[in-house]
Subunit: 362 residues, 2 copies
C-alpha cells in the first residue's frame, strides 16, 4: 500500500492511498476556504449513563447536492473545488468538515448541571473509489483488500492518539439510512470513550471467554460452519453468514475465522479472504431486488484503550433497513425505547433467499 499525506487549505488532513506508487499531487482542494472554527462538546446523560455529543455546525452540512456537483469526485474546475484532487489514488481519507467529534478551533463547553467536556475524538470520510457511479461490492477484490488496509492504517493512526479509545469504520448506504452523498464512501468515527454498544459487547465477550474458553463470535462461527443453514460464504480464513440472532431481516455478518481483535491483527491471506466474503454479500444484496440495497455496515474491533480485550473479534455487521421490497423495518417502541428487537422474518428463510443468489467474484 502506498500513501500520500496532504493538508487542505482549511487545515484538514487528506491522505491518498493506492496499491501502486502515487505520483505527486499539486495541492489538496477543499470546497471550504475558511478553517472550521467550532468544536463539538459532550454532555453526560445521567439516566442512560452515556455521553451525547453536540455539534451545532453540523446543521449546515451538505445535503444531496445537485447531480452535477459531486464533492467526492476529483476536482476538474478550479473555481469549484471538491474534496479531492485528480491523480491515480484509489482510496482517499479526509477529515470530516462537519465532525460530530473533535474539530478545529476552541470548544465552547457550557457549564450545566450534568458533566460536560470538549468532544475529543475525530471524524473522517473514506472515499472508496474515484468513480462516483459504482458501489463497494462492484470494486475489484484487490481494491477491497486495499480498503481493508486503509481501515487498518486509520485505526492504527487514530488509535495511537491519547484522546481516542475506540475506532469505528462504518457506511450508511442509501437515502433510507440518511446518506447525503451517493458517491461510494464510508466514514470513521474515533471516540474519546468506548461507546455503549462496543462497551457492552466487550463485557459480554469477556464473560463468555471466562465461561466457555473462547469468545462468542468464535464459538458462533464454528457452529455456523458446521450447521451451514445460514452460511453465505465459507472460506478458509473468512466467513459471511446471516446470524442466527439477526435483528434485521437481511442482516449479515462478515468475519475472519480466527479471532483477530483488530484490522492490524489480520494476515494478508485473511484480508484477501475477508474481501471475498464482503464482496459476496454486497453483490448478493444488490441482486435481491435488482437495485442497490441500502444498509448500515459497521466494523467492530477491540477498543484501543490499552487494556486487554479477551474475546474481541473483528467483524462487520451489515443491517439493511428493508423488511420486504417495499416495506422498511421501522425501529419503534420496542427497539428504540426498550432496546428489545422484534423480527417477523426467520434468519433461516432470509439466508435461503440470499444463498440462492449466485454471484461471481473477480
Amino acid at each position: 500500500m502506498h500513501s500520500l499525506e496532504l493538508t487542505k487549505p482549511d487545515g484538514r488532513a487528506l491522505t491518498l492511498y493506492s496499491r501502486a506508487p502515487l505520483a505527486p499531487v499539486d495541492a489538496a482542494p477543499s470546497p471550504f476556504a475558511e478553517p472550521l472554527a467550532s468544536k463539538a462538546h459532550l454532555r453526560w446523560h445521567p439516566l442512560r449513563g452515556e455521553w451525547v455529543t453536540y455539534a451545532t455546525h453540523r446543521q449546515d452540512r451538505t445535503f444531496q447536492p445537485p447531480p452535477e456537483y459531486d464533492p467526492l469526485a476529483a476536482t476538474t474546475d478550479r473555481d469549484r473545488p471538491t474534496e479531492l484532487p485528480g491523480g491515480d489514488w484509489e482510496v482517499a481519507v479526509f477529515d470530516n468538515r462537519f465532525p460530530a467529534l473533535g474539530g478545529q478551533g476552541a470548544a465552547d463547553v457550557p457549564e450545566l448541571h450534568v458533566a460536560t467536556a470538549a468532544a475529543a475524538g475525530h471524524c473522517e470520510v473514506v472515499v472508496y473509489t474515484p468513480e462516483r457511479t459504482t458501489a463497494l461490492g462492484a470494486l475489484a477484490l484487490g481494491h477491497i483488500e486495499l480498503l481493508l488496509e486503509v481501515w487498518c492504517d486509520r485505526t492504527r493512526r487514530l488509535g495511537a492518539r491519547d484522546d481516542i479509545r475506540y475506532v469505528l469504520p462504518f457506511e450508511n448506504r442509501g437515502v433510507e439510512v440518511g446518506a447525503t452523498l451517493h458517491h461510494p464512501h464510508g466514514q470513521i468515527y474515533a471516540y474519546p470513550v468506548v461507546p455503549p454498544v462496543p462497551a457492552r459487547m466487550d463485557a459480554v465477550a469477556r464473560e463468555h471467554v471466562q465461561t466457555h474458553g473462547r469468545g462468542p463470535l468464535e464459538a458462533m462461527i464454528a457452529a455456523e460452519r458446521s450447521d451451514g443453514a445460514r452460511m453465505l460464504y465459507a472460506g478458509e480464513h473468512a466467513v459471511a453468514f446471516v446470524p442466527v440472532c439477526a435483528r434485521y431481516p437481511y442482516e449479515c455478518w462478515i468475519a475472519p475465522v480466527r479471532a483477530a481483535a483488530q484490522f492490524a491483527d489480520l494476515a494478508a491471506a485473511e484480508r484477501a479472504d475477508l474481501a471475498r466474503a464482503l464482496k459476496t454479500v454486497l453483490l448478493k444484496y444488490d441482486r435481491v431486488w435488482q437495485r442497490p440495497m441500502p444498509y448500515l455496515m459497521a466494523w467492530f474491533q477491540a477498543p484501543c484503550d490499552g487494556d486487554t480485550h479477551p474475546g474481541a473479534h473483528l467483524h462487520a455487521q451489515i443491517t439493511p433497513p428493508y423488511r420486504t421490497r417495499d416495506r422498511l423495518k421501522f425501529l419503534a417502541g420496542t427497539e428504540l425505547a426498550a432496546g428489545f428487537f422484534a423480527m417477523d422474518a426467520l434468519p433461516e428463510e432470509k439466508a435461503r433467499e440470499l444463498q440462492a443468489i449466485e454471484v461471481e467474484l473477480t
Copy 2:
C-alpha cells in the same frame, strides 16, 4: 374509573374503560374469526447479551388500511367487524392480534446453537378514544387522566403475572415512525425479562442513589426547575422539559416531581398534574409546524420483577424524529452501531422554540 371485561370470538381479551359507569355491551367484535395459532420465540444474541423475539405471523399484519375502514373505530356494520364495540367507553385495551411476545397456541421453538425459548409476555393495543380524527393532546384533561389510570391498571394486571418482568406503554405516532393506523392509540409491551434499555437505566439509577442519595431523574428535575432554561411545564406535582442531554432535537420528558416508581404509586393530584404536563407538550408539538408532530413516546417505570429498584422514577421520554420541518434525524452509524448519539441542535435552543408556543389547557 369503570371497566368492563370481554372476550373476542378469536379468544383475545378486550377491556373497556370510562370515567362513568359503562352500559353492558352485547359482544366483543373481532375482524378475525380464527384463533391466533402461533406464538413467538426468543433467541439469545451472544454478542450483545440480549434476547431477540421472532414472530413470523407479524408479516401479515394490518398495514394502512383504506380510509373507509378503521379497525379501531366502533363496529357499525356487522359484516365488517372492527376491534371494538359501540357504547360509551372512552379508552379500550385489547390483545394485539400480531403480538411480538406471547400469543395463543403452541410455541414453535427451534433448537439452535444459541439459547432459545418460547416468547412469554404480552402485547396490547390501547385505543385512546373512540374518535378517530383527534389526537392524544386534544383530549380533555380528565380523559388523559383516565388514560394514566388505564396504564396503571394494565401495569398492575400484567405485572402480577409470573412470566412478566417489565411493562412498557408506548406510542408510535405518524408514518415516519412506522405507525400503520391513524386512529389515536398506543401499545403496551409486557416483557418476560427486563429489556436492555430499562435494565441499563435501572443499574445507573441504583448507582446514582448510592453515590448521591437520590435517583438521577429526581436530581435532574430539581436542577431543571431551579434553572428554568429548558422547562416547558412546572407544576406543583409534575414537570415537562427538554432534557439537558436530549438525544433528539425535540425530545421532551414528562415526570412527576416526586420519584413515584410506577403508575400505581401516583396520587390523584400527581396524576392530574401529569396529565397537564403531558397535554402541554403534545399541544406545543402540533403547533411547531402547524401539523401533527410524529413521535415515539415511551413511559418508563420500575421493573415488576419483585426486586427493589432504588432511584426508579416513572417518566415519559418523547422523541420526535424530525430535526427541522423537512429533515428527519436518521439514526445511522454512530447511533445504531455504537449507541453514541450525535446532535446538531442544542437543547436550550429547542426549549426556547417550544417555550414560545402558548397553549391552553382544558
